[in-house]
């Protein structure tokens, strides 16, 4: 809290105490409600002044609110002081509060008057208020206002005349109304030209101004008609309170801004990861209370900015009533908002910071996503390279060693036929060599098949899965296998899943039978192998399920294992498949 503020607070407290102590003096009943309502209004404006000072330390708004507060309080405080001087000054300044209100209304919301003309209007308001009151006081005897002999003297009095005093008051009404009309017209013009945030803070001011002007003008006119209504409890004690809407507006707005800061945090936190810039803009606009907010990004070539709807934005010349606040240091993004928000620099800075955080978050997210994508792609490439290497090995075995062994077998067969009958010992020798060669061929065939099943590349899943089932030591039923070809990596993975699953069934499950199905669903291929064995297989266990899960993940698929103890094992691989 600034020193200025503390001083202001003390002044307020002192004034308040003084006002109420002195208003304790006996006064005639009709004035009491008037004093009380005036004190309430004055204190309310002082409180609003403090709030405004705290929120906008650089703005004159706090000062203006305080001026209005004192304009209400001072005359009715010093009027109770002993002596004629204070009494005269109090009466002279009684109406200054009206001019101060006009000043405040015209300076809303920046605290600054917008043109020289407006300054002149405000000066005219002050001058007119003081001038007319001063002139009328030349003929005013305090007894005209119901003040009896206990009242101090009016030092300005030249000649006491009720008719002159009434005449001056009546004559001043058209001038007062004209000035008030100009002020109201200016306020309406401010309101009409305001957009977005400014419009939102101008609208309540407009209505408050209309109400206050209606109230005070009505009272002026009625009191000059001498109908007696103007001295009623309503006009003295209740109607003036309408001006309380002014301080209420500032205090409510302070509360709103405080909640807006909270809303800003919530808005950014609630944004789901990777939300579009459009969503971010909407969240910020809601938090800031500026529906015209634009979030603009610099084009990569630096040639300009585009907002979230793809419209080009002139950042250097944002247009009338618009202001630009950069989001990040590098000038990658900017907020283009209502110029009126420059009076809320803290809120705008916080919004920009929140936008920066959200954008940085999105950028990091995109980076992580890209890295993940790279890792995924490289894993898929590694697996594919492995598959290709296996295919090559199998082909080399087939075209090389296997062919040579077949040729060797044939040669041995021929040799044995030649030796037949002539040399039984040689014949037996060649026979056993031939047998060895055939054994070697069988082993080599199994080895080659284990490295890579040629039937998979040649005929696809149907033949390869059939082959697996034919050699499975556990009775296995195929319920479905689609008769179509899929990408090589997907076919290889599906085959690998079935192969491992059947091997596990044979090794661990002690199952009576197994069932397998491969189903083609939109966008995916689902491989399912289940058995009626002992269950209890663990994905992280040593049963090869870990490797299987890795293999499935390498093509972007998911492996699910359901294996309750004693309840069989169900293994499902969900593979993406275009």
């Amino acid at each position: 809290m600034s020193r200025r503020l503390r001083a202001a607070l003390i002044a307020v407290a002192a004034t308040a105490v003084g006002c109420f102590v002195w208003s304790g003096r006996p006064w005639s009943a009709p004035y009491l409600p008037f004093f009380v309502s005036t004190a309430v209004i004055g204190l309310a404006f002082l409180a609003a002044g403090i709030a405004a000072w705290q929120r906008w330390p650089a703005s004159r708004l706090g000062l203006l609110f305080s001026v209005v507060g004192y304009a209400y309080l001072v005359p009715y405080t010093i009027i109770n002081l002993p002596g004629s001087f204070a009494f005269t000054i109090a009466n002279l300044t009684e109406n200054v509060s009206g001019a101060a209100l006009a000043h405040l209304a015209l300076a809303w919301p920046s605290g600054r008057l917008r043109s020289r003309f407006e300054r002149r209007v405000v000066i005219a308001e002050y001058a007119w208020n003081l001038g007319i009151t001063g002139v009328s006081m030349l003929a005013w005897n305090p007894s005209f206002s119901g003040c009896n002999a206990s009242c101090p003297a009016n030092l300005l009095l030249i000649r006491s005349s009720r008719s002159v005093w009434d005449g001056i008051n009546a004559a001043s009404i058209p001038g007062s109304l004209a000035l008030t009309g100009i002020v109201l017209a200016l306020i309406v013009r401010h309101w009409r030209s305001a957009r977005g945030w400014s419009r939102r803070v101008m609208t309540p001011l407009l209505w408050i101004s209309v109400a206050v002007i209606a109230e005070s003008s009505a009272k002026d006119i009625l009191s000059n008609l001498n109908l007696g209504i103007s001295n009623s409890f309503f006009f003295n004690g209740i109607a003036p309170l309408v001006v309380l809407a002014g301080p209420a507006l500032v205090i409510a707005d302070t509360v709103r801004v405080r909640s807006a800061r909270g809303a800003l945090g919530t808005a950014v936190v609630d944004l789901e990861p990777g939300a579009s810039p459009g969503r971010l803009r909407d969240a910020l606009a809601r938090a800031l209370g500026d529906s015209t907010l634009q979030l603009a990004f610099r084009l990569p070539d630096g040639s300009g900015y585009l907002d979230t709807s793809g419209q080009a934005v002139e950042v250097a010349r944002p247009g009338p009533g618009r202001a630009v606040t950069p989001v990040a240091d590098a000038g990658v993004a900017v907020l283009v908002h209502d110029a009126g928000l420059e009076h809320e620099p803290q809120l705008v800075r916080m919004t920009a910071a929140a936008a920066g955080l959200a954008l940085e978050h999105s950028r990091l997210q995109a980076e992580v996503q890209a890295q993940l994508e790279q890792v995924r792609a490289s894993r898929a490439r590694i697996v594919e390279a492995g598959d290709a290497e296996r295919r090559r090995l199998e082909r080399d075995l087939h075209d090389g060693a296997q062919q040579r062994l077949v040729t060797l077998s044939l040669a041995l067969g021929m040799a044995r036929d030649r030796a037949s009958g002539a040399d039984p010992e040689l014949e037996a020798l060649i026979e056993s060599a031939g047998k060895e060669a055939r054994e070697a061929l069988t082993e080599l065939r199994e080895l080659a098949r284990g490295i890579h099943p040629a039937v998979l590349t040649e005929t696809g899943l149907t033949g390869a899965i059939q082959a697996l089932v034919e050699r499975s030591p556990v009775a296995t039923t195929i319920t479905a296998v689609p008769d179509e070809r899929f990408p090589a990596a997907i076919e290889a993975t599906a085959y690998f899943v079935v192969c491992e699953a059947l091997a596990n069934v044979a090794k661990h499950a002690r199952a009576g039978g197994a069932q397998l199905s491969i189903r083609r669903l939109p966008g995916r291929l689902v491989v399912e192998v289940s058995d009626d064995g002992t269950g209890g297989a663990r994905p992280d266990g040593g049963s090869g399920l870990r490797g299987l899960a890795d293999r499935v993940a390498s093509v972007g698929g998911v492996l699910r294992v359901d294996s309750p103890p004693g309840g069989g094992t169900r293994l499902e691989a969900d593979l993406p498949c275009p």
Binding site: L410, G413, G434, T459, G463, Q466, A467, A475
Partner: protein, 228 residues
């Protein structure tokens, strides 16, 4: 492509064979073995295209084709065999394979199992059996490699009528799947043809198969049953 001179086949002449095999050593070995066995090797080819044009030119009785040949080294031999069967239906074909998998076998048998052989490549070393297989397909029989059949018969099954067959019946079943005639089965198992016929009848009713009059139809029915 090499074509032996004087290969026009007069009636009662030796069987005319065309060999397709990309390994030169093996191809020449086969030519020699078959010639020695009294067959007429009319021509040899190193790939599928060559084989087709040889068959078109020579119209042999039997074609012997390696399943894997250039250029892709996958199933060219099988595709060529199917084409030959389509264009020259009377031609007997034996496909030599390194695979015990049944997928290719069924592809080959699907249309017309008559005069079809599917044997593992190493069978060529058992020269007498191999030449016998050539003569059998030339005569319209089917020849399925015993190793493939025995694997199918030995598969574990649950609740299958196969479990109720006697060892003797299973042996008959396997020989049927290999493409043997009742007569050959009787000779192989030292039974009377009558007994074989009884076994076959019993088995077909136990397995719920319709009795097939022709041996090669019977092969397909039994293999399909064993495979499922």
């Amino acid at each position: 492509m090499s074509v032996s001179p004087g290969s026009a086949a007069p009636a009662g002449a030796p069987l005319r064979v065309v060999i397709a095999e990309d390994t030169v050593l093996l191809r020449e070995g086969l030519r020699r073995v078959l010639t020695d066995a009294g067959l007429d090797v009319a021509g040899t080819a190193g790939d599928a295209a060559e084989l087709i044009s040889l068959v078109a030119a020579l119209r042999p009785d039997v074609v012997l084709a390696d399943i894997r040949m250039p250029p892709t080294q996958t199933t060219e031999g099988l595709q060529a065999a199917l084409e030959i069967r389509r264009r020259w239906p009377g031609t007997a074909v034996i496909v030599l394979s390194q695979h015990v998998e049944t997928e290719h076998l069924f592809e080959l048998l699907a249309d017309e199992p008559r005069g079809i052989g599917y044997v593992l490549k190493e069978r060529v070393a058992e020269i007498a059996q191999f030449t016998d297989a050539i003569r059998r397909v030339a005569a319209g029989e089917s020849v399925i490699d015993p190793q493939i059949v025995s694997r199918l018969v030995a598969r574990p099954r649950r609740d299958s009528p196969l479990g109720g067959l006697s060892e003797r019946e299973l042996a008959v079943l396997a020989l049927m799947a290999e493409g043997r005639s009742n007569h050959a089965i009787a000779a192989a198992l030292y039974m009377s043809p009558k007994t074989v016929e009884t076994h076959v009848g019993n088995m077909f009713s136990k397995l719920g198969l319709l009795p097939a009059a022709e041996d090669h139809r019977r092969v397909l029915a039994v293999l399909t049953y064993l495979r499922r």
